[in-house]
């Protein structure tokens, strides 16, 4: 927990911190301001503010549909990545098995490979298999995309556990399943939550991979936004961006409220 700056904090550090903060928050503020302009083009509001560009979002059914798709996709991708990543992380953090480095390297590879490369490989694999159902195609790709984040967070979380706790529980009569539910799971819950949030955000935000896998029938919000912004330059793009930030923020707040992020991470 950070305690207030103490008297000896050097001035240059304060200045540097301010600059970095400005660098991160500044563009957001600009976008937020632009979204409130009453004018027809991208500009800062001068004399008055208006919510007309937020209202304009509601008039674009393709964006609303894509938002729904993105939300559902991100939820399922998160569930899939956690369901597959948790067992992999447990095996990796707690024991040695043949080919461990290779398997982990493979699972982590979406992190290092350029998205365009992954996308082309996935696309050609899909067409070779004749897999054409768009939502499930993109879901599978997103699970692969988000697994590295889940894996990394959970391995870190699990390696903090003392293996002797598991031995102690077994010595007291717990089955492997009970060891998992009563000893391991309660202790990695913060890590699990962080992993799920990472996975959700990565999936919800992705353009690079999704742009190759979406099409006429099915699209996601970032892809729609990207193509809309490529051809239009009205402030509704800014309004949608702000809406997305607000949605993410609400998600984090809800998690904080119902799971107590702060308390769990302690």
């Amino acid at each position: 927990m950070m305690r207030g700056t103490n008297a000896s904090t050097p001035v240059w550090l304060i200045a540097w911190t301010g600059l970095v903060t400005l660098f991160i928050v500044g563009p957001l503020v600009c976008v937020a301001l632009v979204s409130l302009t009453p004018l027809d083009y991208i500009s800062f509001p001068q004399h008055s503010v208006s919510l007309r560009w937020y209202k304009a979002i509601l008039d674009k059914p393709e964006l609303l549909g894509a938002s729904f798709n993105s939300l559902v996709l991100a939820l399922f991708a998160t569930a899939g990545a956690v369901a597959l990543g948790l067992p992999a992380a447990m095996a990796t953090a707690r024991q040695a098995y043949p080919g461990k480095q290779l398997i982990i390297g493979t699972l982590m590879s979406p992190l290092f490979l350029p998205h365009i490369l992954s996308a082309l490989a996935i696309l050609s694999a899909y067409s070779a298999w004749g897999w054409s159902h768009q939502p499930s195609r993109i879901l599978a790709a997103h699970i692969a995309l988000t697994i590295p984040y889940v894996l990394r967070t959970l391995i870190a979380s699990l390696s903090g556990l003392d293996v002797r706790q598991e031995l102690a529980a077994r010595n007291l009569g717990a089955s492997h399943w009970q060891v998992f539910w009563r000893i391991i799971l309660p202790q990695i819950r913060p890590g699990l939550l962080a992993a799920a949030i990472f996975a959700f955000i990565v999936s919800f935000d992705d353009v690079g991979l999704s742009i190759f896998l979406t099409g006429a029938g099915y699209s996601t919000l970032p892809v729609q936004l990207f193509s809309y912004a490529s051809y239009n330059s009205d402030p509704s793009v800014a309004a949608i961006s702000v809406a997305m930030v607000i949605i993410s923020f609400i998600a984090v707040l809800l998690v904080e409220r119902y799971f107590g992020l702060e308390k769990l991470i302690r």
């Binding site: 002797r164 031995l167 010595n171 009569g173």
Partner: protein, 362 residues
């Protein structure tokens, strides 16, 4: 295992040629050992000696590659950990940090699906036994090291095990607390008479708590005997060194004009009867230091430079160096000859009949 001819039926715990290899290296190499009912036994040895692996095999965490484990005459080798009735207290305790003291202690009962009322009754009894009443709602991190250890003990004892296994339970504590908790173990043992196995690398801990001590080195059982027997009759140079003997010398018999001598590190000691070639331990407290040139009858002696004097409080420890050999001696502070300073030439001597013959070591 030298003299112990107990029948397997009489042994509470019997290990039969137990072996465990990790990556081709034998961590435990054919260890056989029998523990009597109500006995307090320490497994003592340097780290990497195989003592924790041995304990884990008895507890059922590690499957032996060969050999058998019998508890009360019954082979438990294939039994799961909790059915063996061998409760474990771990190094650093392995308490469940997300559970309260109450739930930590209750864990074993919960696994047995004991009813709530009964759980409450037994847990409060166990906490009373380890003097932790009133701390039920605390979490392990809110307790001191000593309290945590008592929670671990209560958690282990609540299932009324027939065998208590302690895996270096004191190694994370400061020396004063160690002494206190060590006495605590012995006290609990005196009350419960529960057969207990303590793994430790601390000689004092093993010697003060245990009826018998098993010395393990390199996966083998070096000696299994009472602390006194181990100290006064070490079975090997390894044991001698490990329990703190520092003078291990070669003795070679010699004969001149029908008189028998024993040559030790370049000096000759007169013997009444022919000597044997062997390695010997000269106990530190048997070494006397003098400035006389003669050696009393029945003693061996060597001249050398007094190299070092260490004041240890009740004891004074000194080193005499003669040629390639260094002899370490200890005497009580008030017996230390006044005026001896490092650098002077002195004579160290010791009674021949106090030398310990090391069997096997040549």
């Amino acid at each position: 295992m030298p003299s112990d001819n107990q029948s397997p039926e009489g042994a509470f715990l019997a290990l039969r040629s137990l072996t465990k290899r990790f990556d081709g290296h034998a961590a435990v190499n054919g260890i056989s050992l029998e523990v009597k009912p109500h006995e307090f036994v320490s497994l003592l040895g340097p780290s990497g000696g195989g003592k924790t692996t041995l304990l884990h095999m008895i507890a059922g965490f590690t499957e032996p590659d060969a050999g058998d484990i019998l508890i009360q005459g019954e082979s438990v080798r294939r039994w799961p950990s909790h059915r063996r009735g061998a409760a474990m207290v771990f190094q650093s305790y392995a308490l469940f940090p997300h559970l309260t003291v109450f739930e930590n202690v209750a864990f074993g009962l919960r696994m047995r699906k004991v009813g709530n009322g009964e759980v409450r009754r037994q847990v409060s009894e166990a906490l009373e036994y380890v003097r932790l009443q009133g701390l039920e709602k605390r979490y392990p991190r809110q307790l001191s090291g000593g309290q945590q250890q008592r929670v671990a003990l209560a958690r282990a004892l609540i299932l009324k095990p027939r065998l208590l296994l302690l895996d270096e339970p004191l190694s994370n504590l400061d020396p004063n607390l160690r002494r206190e908790l060590r006495d605590n173990f012995r006290e609990i043992h005196n009350q419960t008479r529960m057969t207990t196995l303590l793994v430790t690398h601390d000689i004092e801990e093993a010697f003060t708590t245990s009826d018998r001590v098993a010395i393990l080195g390199n996966g083998r059982l070096e000696q299994f005997d009472t602390p006194q027997a181990i100290y006064t009759r070490p079975a090997s140079a390894f044991v001698a060194r490990f329990v703190g003997h520092r003078n291990i010398v070669r003795g070679t018999p010699a004969q001149k004009e029908a008189r028998h001598f024993l040559e030790i590190e370049g000096t000759e000691a007169l013997l009444e009867t022919p000597g044997t070639a062997s390695s010997y331990v000269i106990p530190m407290n048997q070494v006397r230091i003098t400035t006389d040139a003669t050696t009393p009858r029945g003693y061996a002696g060597m001249s050398g430079v007094l190299e070092k004097i260490e004041y240890l409080g009740a004891l004074v420890r000194f080193q005499v160096k003669s040629g390639g050999a260094t002899l370490v001696g200890e005497c009580l502070d008030h017996q230390w000859p006044v005026g001896l300073q490092p650098g002077i030439t002195t004579r160290a001597c010791w009674p021949l009949h106090r030398m310990i013959d090391l069997p096997g070591a040549v």
